[in-house]
Symmetry: C2
Subunit: 189 residues, 2 copies
DNA sequence: TTTCTGCGGTACCGATCGGTTTCCATTCGG
DNA sequence: CCGAATGGAAACCGATCGGTACCGCAGAAA
């Protein structure tokens, strides 16, 4: 009876998959519930018994983006590289369908401060920063906090600019800049 | 008779002022025409004889943002500073009501590639980059193109991150990073 | 005063929004 | 073979969207 184990392709997962693609590609505010149910092959009724509201669906979408690693920050986990190399490898060009960081894009669209998605965005950004600082520490940076924060800004810039000008070449300029910042942080005593 | 010189506070200017504040604060898609005319103290009729459509109003809003310097890139014009200092001064904290770069925010919201605003965004970003490269050249950078592009990414990151985490402290991390990049570009031979 | 024009107010249009409800075909346990 | 639960299709709801049409008032021109 009842709810699929959620690991299989039950209706909830189909809805989330459809919503993720549409929200990311066309924007959150520009995507109607009707579009989501059509792509998911699901009725509105089913959607609304899985999610309280569109706002909650958006929050679930952001949570899904955080958890199941389809984000670029995955590159920090490449243990075959030295920590310092990982910090630079983060800046390799993303794939073609790239349209910026879904978290940041959502924060631009969701101006309502009480939106349930905002907490997810904030938590993600904090977690990403923590991992950057941690990797900077592993790399032996003189001031891991400072280096982590600087790379944080630079990475956000590469993703944001790739959106603004619709060209992932931004990463090609960010990468050597990151190498410079990392190099300076490691040689400083 | 008829249309005010546009330099005065005619209806067109009032509409643009209202639209600018609302589009920037609450987002473009989240702002209805009804809101704009209410704040502007103008009838819908007047709005639609000044602007063909909402899309055109959005494009005019972006054009206005480009022209009448209320954007941070104004800091590149501070001739009392040396070019190298200007490149760093660009990263001083913005004011309190800051909510990111209006151009970038619009590019996140306007996913339609044919939207008339997209050309304005692209032109602005290109112009900003050109000025960065030019200033880098004045500063005597070994590779002005490269330094300009790197600072371009870093600056976009500071503005974007200040939006994502709702905290202008991002600029405080970007500023010394910019100083590092500038310093490296000047000492390299 | 008379006339014309610009403009705010407002009713209105069809479409779409987020969300609810009804109906019916399918499926599955007993 | 039956009854209950599921969920897709679709009608429906009030609100709001972008955009249009009309009314009536103001002020300048004559």
């Amino acid at each position: 009876m009842a709810n699929q184990p959620a690991t299989t392709h039950g209706p909830r997962e189909r809805i989330l998959a459809a919503a993720s693609a549409l929200f990311y590609r066309h924007g959150i505010n520009a995507t109607g519930i009707g579009e989501v149910v059509e792509v998911a092959g699901v009725s509105k009724r089913t959607l609304y018994q899985q999610f309280e509201s569109k706002d909650e669906l958006v929050a679930a979408y952001l949570r899904r983006m955080t958890e199941s690693g389809r984000l670029l920050d995955r590159r920090l986990d490449r243990t075959e590289l030295a920590p310092g190399e990982r910090l630079v490898a983060l800046f390799e060009r993303p794939g073609a369908a790239f349209r910026g960081c879904p978290m940041h894009n959502a924060s631009v669209e969701l101006t309502e401060p009480a939106h349930p998605g905002r907490a997810v965005i904030h938590a993600y950004k904090q977690g990403f920063l923590d991992r950057l600082v941690d990797t900077a520490r592993q790399a032996g940076a003189a001031d891991p906090e400072e280096l982590g924060h600087r790379l944080f800004v630079l990475f956000e810039g590469a993703t944001a600019l790739a959106t603004s000008i619709n060209d992932p070449a931004a990463f090609d300029y960010a990468r050597p800049a990151a190498a410079t910042l990392v190099g300076q942080a490691l040689t400083a005593e």
